[in-house]
Every structure is written in structure tokens, then in C-alpha cells.
Symmetry: C2
Subunit: 218 residues, 2 copies
């Protein structure tokens, strides 16, 4: 029983810090997304393709979360935008305090879009609010169309679902209509995009949506 | 500080139950593997192909772990072997006590190979010994050849690494030699198999290895 109490306190404390982060982001007129997925679903590649297309149109800052290595931050830094790497040293998710400590190193007043790339994990990050406006859950066609049913919490707390790796559809068994239905059964309010971050297919709709959300907050 | 103490106690208690499980499994002359991977890497499909090929040669029982749904247990039950589903109700990994409670429903005395399929998560299950002989970490080519570097703990605690979805190699950027090197840099003792659970490519070496490990324990 005491363990459950401790866990509840950790989440409660996290929610308090997340609320403070949210206030900070709102005051800066930022649009903030928390990008979550399984390992290897393509979060960093989606981010790279997004940066290639819209760095001229808006000012972007990035927080990278990883259990180990700063490989992702180095990939993003190549685009010459502000990026901070959080290495969790084994912890399976980002927490609001880590984000709070990280963003002091970012030029929030000169940022329009803040993207937080979470640790690759389709379970634990669902429980930790970071202060973002929206959670964007990415899953790839190669993971199977049943994933929303098997990891429902992440799809329930997300606002947007991006189905990635559509370029591989000819080579795998993946029913994209069924995937959409499964996701919407868990969360009828999900906005869904189908993309290939590799070939660029479907990226326009995603970029247009991002630009609209940024504009709304100015 | 008190939180860290509680976490240490949880892991310590888990290790004690895992040790008891290991004794039970050893007394029954079982070979037990704990199958871990990201969501959608192909754990259940590997299990299905394995069952198709070797149910005649040895007696297999299965424990299925999922955060939600009993879809996997139903897929495995179709092979007419003993299977128990653990639904963790949101928890991101199996623990030794859950396995202890599950296996009382399995005919351990009449089992040669016990396969525990963990929750899809490349981070948290690395910290929880279940009493298995070996952890088998599966990762798929579509996740990228950098995964051992980015999620090193799982590759460090594993004995065997199965690289799945080799049938998709012509369509993706994945350097299988680099993947092997990355895995062996983290853990030089890893036994590595390259397979396609879909086409059956490479399955023979995996099945032969399994049969050898089962034989050794009889």
C-alpha cells in the first residue's frame, strides 16, 4: 500500500511541474508537442523531415529524450536549430522536471514550435504529462495494425496519431483501414495522419496541420 | 531518497521470487526463456512459427504478458498447447510474482520448454528477472541497426539476440553487419540469429539451438 502511495505522489508532483511548464509555454506563445512511440518507429526521422521542410517558416526548438547516447540530438543539431539532449540513464520515460531543467537552455521567447521527443516506449510515457499542448503518438506499419488495441493508454491520452512507414505497405500485412478503426475505437477524437517520413508521402498534410496549430497560438 | 529505497526494495523482492521460480523450473528440468522486444517486433509471430515446427519434438508451455487484451494468448492457444495470459492492466513489464502465480496453471512436470513472452517494451523488462534461464531479445530490421546502442541495458542482460524481419532488408536502410557489431559491442557474449518469422528464413538455426538447450537440461 505504501508503494502505491509513493507512486501516486510521484505522479502528483509530476503533474504540478507539468502545469507550471504548460504555463511557461503558453506565456511564450509556443505550440508544444510530446512525440511518443515504440523504439524505431521513426520519431527522429519524422523530426528531420519536418525540420527540412519548415525551418524557414517558423522557429523550432527541440528537446531530445533518450535512455542512453546523444545520437538523436546530434542528428537534429545538424539542422542548425536549438536542441537539448536529456539522457535518462536507463529511466523509461521523460518527466516534467527533466523538461523544466532542459528548456532553460532553449530560447523559448524566440521559438514558435517546441518538439519534445520522448524515450522510445509505448507504455510508460503515457502516464507522464510534460506540460505539452498535445501528445503525438507515432506508430509504424511494420509494428502491426493491432497496436492501438494492445497499448490503448497511449492512444487514449494522445491527440494526434501518425502512422509512419507507408512506403513499406506493399511488402507487409498491414490493413491501414483496420489500424485507423482500432485507433479511433480507443480514442474517437484522434486526428490521424498517414505518412512515409522516408519518401515524404503524406508529409504535406502533417506540415499544414503543424503550421495551423502554431498560427493559432500567436 | 525514500523513493529510491522503495524502488530498490521492489527489485530486491522481485529477485527473491525470481530465484524461487528458477529453482522450480530447474527442478522440473525445464528450459525457460523470457522473450523481450519493442511492440510489434514479432515476438508472437516468432512463437507461432516455432510452435508450428517443434510441437511434435518437445512439450511447450507459454506465458503471455500484455498490458491489455488476451489476443496473443488466443493466437497461441490455436496451437493446442498450454498457455496462460497475464494482463498487467497498464504495467509496463512482467514481474516474478505474476509469473509465479501464472505457472501454477501450467503442467510444468510435463513441459520441456517454457516460453514467457514479455510486454512489448525495450526498456523496463530489462530490470526484472522472472526466473528464466535466458533472456532472448528480439529486434526487427525496420527498427534500425542502432537499437542496441540506444537501449543497451536490454542487450546487456540478454543471452540471445534475434534479428527479425530479414525479408524486408531489400526495402529499407539497415546494415545487418553494423547491427551485429552494435549488439556485440554492448554484449560480446550474445548469440545472434538472423531470421524472418514471416518467410521462415533462418528459423532452422534458431530451432536447432532451442532443441539443444532443451536436451541439455533433461
Amino acid at each position: 500500500m505504501s508503494v502505491i502511495t509513493v507512486e501516486r505522489k510521484i505522479l502528483q508532483k509530476n503533474d504540478e511541474v507539468a502545469a507550471a511548464n504548460r504555463q511557461t509555454f503558453t506565456n511564450s506563445g509556443l505550440f508544444t508537442i510530446n512525440l511518443v512511440s515504440s523504439p524505431g518507429a521513426g520519431k527522429t526521422t519524422l523530426l528531420e523531415r519536418t525540420l527540412e521542410k519548415i525551418t524557414g517558416q517558423m522557429r523550432i526548438s527541440v528537446v531530445e529524450g533518450d535512455v542512453q547516447t546523444d545520437n538523436d540530438a546530434r542528428r537534429i543539431a545538424a539542422y542548425d536549430i536549438p536542441v537539448v539532449q536529456i539522457v535518462t540513464n536507463g529511466a523509461c520515460h521523460l518527466e516534467a522536471q527533466l523538461v523544466k531543467d532542459a528548456v532553460v537552455n532553449l530560447p523559448l521567447a524566440d521559438t514558435d514550435l517546441l518538439i519534445i521527443e520522448n524515450v522510445g516506449n509505448l507504455v510508460c510515457p503515457a502516464s507522464y504529462d510534460l506540460g505539452e499542448d498535445m501528445k503525438v503518438v507515432l506508430f509504424s506499419t511494420t509494428e502491426g495494425d493491432d497496436k492501438p488495441l494492445k497499448y490503448p493508454k497511449m492512444f487514449r491520452v494522445a491527440d494526434v496519431c501518425v502512422i509512419n512507414k507507408t512506403d513499406l505497405l506493399p511488402y507487409i500485412e498491414f490493413d491501414i483501414q483496420k489500424a485507423r478503426e482500432n485507433a479511433l475505437n480507443i480514442n474517437p477524437n484522434l486526428t490521424i495522419f498517414e505518412i512515409s517520413a522516408k519518401t515524404g508521402e503524406g508529409m504535406d498534410a502533417w506540415l499544414k496541420w503543424l503550421a495551423g496549430e502554431v498560427e493559432r497560438r500567436k
